[in-house]
């Protein structure tokens, strides 16, 4: 198995508070990895450090990039610590948000089209005067976006305002939008939040499907244990910013520290 991304002891301190301490993550190609932990454990902070929203106060985020030299694939690690979110997205790490962050007033199609913009090579003059290169790119963008919308089952509502979609579909649109940036790694922040058991089952199948179809590595934060256990190859558990366990779902379910973190410790014992 090949490593696509890893973090080397990333730490995030807000003043005197250490939100995440020495977090070491390793993602292998094609894996689905989950990050769990009680509320306030620092899961989203870890996400934000990887995606560039926060710059870690310590440690490094390293992306394993493939390049071709003399017809051979060469891998080398690139330090992406402290890059801006848009630069990191360009390098192939896309994300969704815990509280859905769609472009609410724009149409479903526009939401996905916007995520294509980062790969545009036409400049603003070519775009204004609709020169051939821009026209070609625009056509490709629309085709690709429609393709994505069809895959997530939203093609029929492409002209609707994104905020008018039902909750579950908004989640799917957010994933489609992230996929439009051509990521290699997809980070999902609580994709099943607010979903009923039926919807979360569908989501589990959906995430596995897009992983295979788009050749992705998925890293997700989730609270629904049903989803987490059903989907993940490996799980990391955070509590008060410290990694208290990592391993496959079976190991995690039987880990004493994880059970304590979730259920509390009997003080009298």
């Amino acid at each position: 198995m090949m490593n696509v991304m890893r973090t080397d002891n990333i730490t995030m301190q807000f003043g005197g508070l250490t939100a995440v301490k020495d977090f070491n993550l390793e993602l292998n190609k094609g894996e689905i990895v989950a990050l769990i932990g009680p509320n306030g454990a620092g899961k989203t902070t870890a996400f934000n450090m990887i995606t560039g929203v926060y710059t870690p106060t310590g440690g490094k985020v390293l992306l394993n990039q493939k390049s071709t030299v003399d017809g051979k694939d060469v891998y080398n690690e690139k330090d992406i610590t402290g890059l801006r979110p848009d630069q990191i997205t360009k390098l192939g790490i896309a994300r969704t948000f815990q509280n859905i962050r769609l472009f609410k007033d724009l149409s479903v199609l526009d939401n996905v089209l916007i995520a294509n913009h980062l790969r545009i090579s036409s400049n603003v003059f070519e775009s204004i005067f609709k020169l051939p290169r821009y026209k070609r790119e625009e056509k490709q963008m629309v085709e690709k976006s429609m393709n994505l919308l069809e895959k997530v089952g939203l093609a029929d509502s492409r002209y609707e305002k994104s905020s008018s979609l039902p909750y579950g579909q908004q989640r799917r649109l957010e994933i489609a939008r992230a996929l439009a940036t051509d990521p290699g790694i997809l980070l999902l922040d609580e994709p099943a939040a607010g979903m009923n058991p039926k919807e979360s089952d569908d989501l589990t199948i959906f995430i596995k499907r897009i992983r295979d179809e788009f050749d992705l590595t998925v890293f997700l934060i989730e609270h629904h244990m049903q989803v987490v256990m059903g989907i993940s190859n490996r799980i990391y558990v955070l509590d008060y910013g410290i990694t208290i366990a990592k391993g496959n779902p079976y190991e995690i379910q039987n880990n004493q520290r994880v059970i304590e973190a979730y259920l509390g410790v009997d003080e009298d014992a």
Partner: protein
């Protein structure tokens, strides 16, 4: 699609005929109002790109207009008039020998305004909301103060007089039409979508790979470019400019237009630019004594607009058009009433 192109062509032709006859038969007062309508359309669109489409609350428009107006005036003033204007301190070389035609002067005015916008935008556009508004407002005041004190370049507080009155209906409406086409094309392009994404949600836009800095500065500079051109047109319409013309009041006027028209609507801005410019003339009687024996209240006219702005902001926040736009399909759909059973409107 093709049908709509024909409609647009016809509308342009009608506008052409209208301008032709208006130029010949209307008196100078009406011509002045029509010119102002078109110029305010250009200015409104340029500010709406920044404030309405990209969501940057900028109040620096008068500054960009001043740059444009002074550039155009300095380049188009005849040499003799320049010497007459600069009697306190002589104009520096080589400006005292340069006389350019109107079009290149206007374009350079736009380019200079855009460069100024880039220089000011680079540090200031990191700010958000109210802070950006304060910083840009301060910037436009700085420009005004600089222009007041650079006696050898701008003639300082004396202003410039005798600017050739080149701006006529052809220039103003021509510029307005070109601006409308460029703006509509821009905001419907991939870059325009990126601007709107920044307006909707900066964090999400950045996470989708849109460089906030690059696109904010781009929008700011393009907006300033047209503000500079609008300023240039205005200066060469008035015939005289001075730094006091470009106080906050100027920015407020344009802000009024885009808020009433709808932040984020080209159509709304155009309609509102015409309505407000015409209404400002139409309501002039309010500044004169209305009731006998009660002295006139100069400025009462502007109170009307301030109240209007308050009402819009309080009760009708989307303005005239919201973010909706005119399209031929909607236009004809409005007249062609479908039967109610087919989903037609009442």
């Amino acid at each position: 699609m093709k049908r709509n192109t024909i409609y647009t062509g016809t509308a342009l032709l009608l506008l052409f005929v209208f301008v032709y006859f208006a130029n010949k038969h209307l008196d100078s007062y009406l011509l002045r109002i029509l010119n102002l309508c078109a110029i305010y359309t250009v200015l409104g669109l340029s500010m709406n790109l920044i404030n309405g489409f990209t969501g940057l609350f900028s109040l620096g428009h008068a500054g960009f207009m001043a740059v444009g107006a002074y550039t155009t005036a300095m380049l188009t003033l005849p040499i003799a008039t320049k010497q007459m204007n600069f009697f306190l301190a002589p104009l520096i070389s080589p400006l005292d020998k340069i006389v350019w035609p109107f079009l290149p002067s206007l374009l350079l005015a736009g380019v200079l305004a855009a460069i100024v916008a880039f220089l000011i935008g680079a540090p200031v556009l990191r700010l958000k909301g109210d802070y950006l508004a304060i910083a840009t407002l301060g910037f436009s005041e700085i420009i005004r103060v600089v222009f007041t004190n650079t006696q050898t370049v701008t003639n300082g507080a004396l202003g410039l007089k005798g600017i050739p009155a080149t701006t006529n209906l052809w220039w103003s409406f021509g510029t307005a039409v070109v601006t409308i086409f460029i703006m509509v094309s821009l905001i419907n392009s991939s870059y325009g979508r990126a601007f709107k994404a920044i307006r909707e949600d900066e964090i999400a836009a950045e996470s989708m790979g849109i460089s906030l800095f690059k696109h904010k500065v781009l929008s700011f500079a393009i907006g300033a470019f047209f503000a500079g051109i609008g300023g240039g047109l205005l200066g060469n319409l008035m015939g005289t400019i001075d730094p006091l013309m470009f106080r906050f009041f100027m920015t407020y006027n344009i802000l009024l237009i885009i808020v009433l028209g709808g932040l984020g609507s080209v159509t709304g801005t155009i309609i509102s630019a015409f309505i407000i410019t015409i209404a400002q003339e139409f309501l002039r009687f309010l500044d004169e004594p209305i009731i006998p024996n009660i002295p006139a209240l100069p400025g009462l006219r502007m109170v009307v607009f301030s109240i209007l702005l308050m009402l819009v902001v309080l009760f009708f926040r989307t303005g005239l058009m919201g973010t909706r736009e005119f399209s031929w399909d909607k236009f004809f759909g409005f007249f062609k009433k479908r039967p109610l059973s087919n989903g037609g409107a009442k």
